[in-house]
Amino acid sequence: MPVLCSSKCGKNAILKRPKTGDALCKDCFFWAFETEVHSTIISGNLFKRGDTVAVAASGGKDSTVLAYVLKVLNERHDYGLNLVLLSIDEGITGYRDDSLETVKQNRDDYQMPLKILSYEELFGWTMDAIVAQIGRKNNCTFCGVFRRQALDKGATQLGVNCVATGHNADDLAETVLMNILRGDIARLQRCTSIITESETEGTIPRVKPLKYTYEKEIVMYAYFKRLVYFSTECVFAPNAYRGHARAFLKDLEKIRPSVIMDIIHSGESLQVKDNVKLPVRTQCSRCGSVSSQELCKACVLLEGLNRGLPKLGIGKSSLANRARDQQDAEKKEKVICDF
């Protein structure tokens, strides 16, 4: 027996909202969903009229919904934004090549220009080649570090004012939890901010318009709007640690849906004491990206790959560092011998 829509519109409800428990019909759900994203955008001051905004598009559910809803809101509320799609091709056969087809579909459906940048052209390595060299143990580290930098470079090349990413409330709660589990205080402080603008000049801000949107609602929105998205798991082994954090959150959410908002709120409210030393963010001496070290993580990983020392920059790196120093020393010796 059908449940009526909580907003008393007389129609049958199709969804129970995780955030509020309201039962809504399809039209009232669409309206509530879009209005909440709009108010997140307005209250967070995410955009300025005339901005060119790159939507980081992976072909997955979040970025597909983000691109769609930004287009709808840009027209409905006359934001005056110029929206473009920016995709990163990691070079993963059977995964990214398929999902890029979905992004191209988004480009045609939403009439937005699309820029695709590949790891191969940016770093000289595809993920397939990286995995062939390092195996499947730390490949998510490489992929994550490179993707972050690839988006920055793509955004710079496109000359956009900001990059909008599809991170949703569940993702954010998961990230807060992960940073607590890793004791990463610097990231814990940064990860909940809706605009990640670094103090370093020349980097392009990232914004998260879906920050307060539940994953369930994103998937339901995509389903009822018949948006096409790509939902195949990456062919390389997923990050098991993150997987556990995710499953744990989903279990909690089942018992108490507000846990997602509660964790985000905890992350936002945490204050690091003044006497806690946080890494100073400067620029990588090699590529100019934001970094708290002399060399940014991407450059260290890349150096490891190019030198055949793929452990460089991963975990406890003292061993790898010693190997690098030894290589350097050997090289010097060789130079001396040549004389």
């Binding site: 969804l15 559910k61 339901m220 798991e233």
Partner: protein, 101 residues
């Protein structure tokens, strides 16, 4: 009239990968003394339909958290979840929210 309860089972968001990568299954549930519910359907699916890694779909007696269930395009959370009594010609859709981003 065929014996049994005819229902359509649909899969999306990656959940189809656990069911032979087929998005739509027309099935007939055998006649039973007690009415079919989602609870008993899940057991039946585990024994008859699930092709691989059942733990990615079923946890305890229910679906794994993160899998959405819709009955005739309505959220099962509005319909009593596991206790919903299945009717002939119902379409039950399972969507995974756990795949991709």
């Amino acid at each position: 009239m065929t014996d049994g309860l005819q229902v359509t089972l649909e899969f999306g968001g990656g959940a189809e990968l656990l069911f032979g990568n087929i998005k739509k299954h027309e099935v007939t549930l055998p006649v039973d003394d007690t009415p079919w519910t989602i609870r008993s359907l899940l057991t039946w699916m585990k024994d008859n339909l699930l092709k691989e890694r059942p733990e990615l779909f079923i946890q305890g007696d229910t679906v794994r958290p993160g899998i959405l269930v819709l009955v005739n395009d309505a959220d099962w959370e509005l319909l009593g979840e596991l206790d919903y009594k299945i009717e002939s010609k119902d379409t039950i859709l399972f969507i995974s929210t756990l795949h991709g981003g």
